[in-house]
Symmetry: C2
Subunit: 99 residues, 2 copies
Amino acid sequence: MSIQHTVVFRLVHPEGSVEEQAFLDAAPGILASIPGVQNFAVARQVSAKSTLTHQFSMTFADQDGYDGYNNHPEHVAFVANRWGAEVAEFQEYDFVGIA
Amino acid sequence: MSIQHTVVFRLVHPEGSVEEQAFLDAAPGILASIPGVQNFAVARQVSAKSTLTHQFSMTFADQDGYDGYNNHPEHVAFVANRWGAEVAEFQEYDFVGIA
């Protein structure tokens, strides 16, 4: 059963900054090319009911695909080198459709 | 620009209960028929990194469609009669695609 993996986040960079754009540009190039990642998308979070400002979303065909992504060296390096330094707060959610 | 409106939530009802199923069955019938609502979907939230267990997702063609939904008597009644009594915790997010 396909799984939609999402993370909603807020960067340490000011909105509209060069650093923000550089992060948003770099991430898809690194993450979307990892085997198993489908439908990689970047969105702005616009509800005033959350302090988070962006979302990455992707789908995996199954749990094996998800695990392969999580353990892939490019993903591990991205989390260590960019995510930890540039993300101020975040929340992960994974969705499986039921209706 | 189209807007994806989402709410991730946890019910007061036990997982797998008749009450849970009744809520999940009733909501789409009420909410998806409100004018302007597109792509209404129900998902299970399966990441252990969140205590929330379900998501409703829908899209609106524009902010007018979103406002019409928010103010529609069927939506207002659903929030007053079902949501407030049966939802233990929730978080709203609205997404606009940028890549």
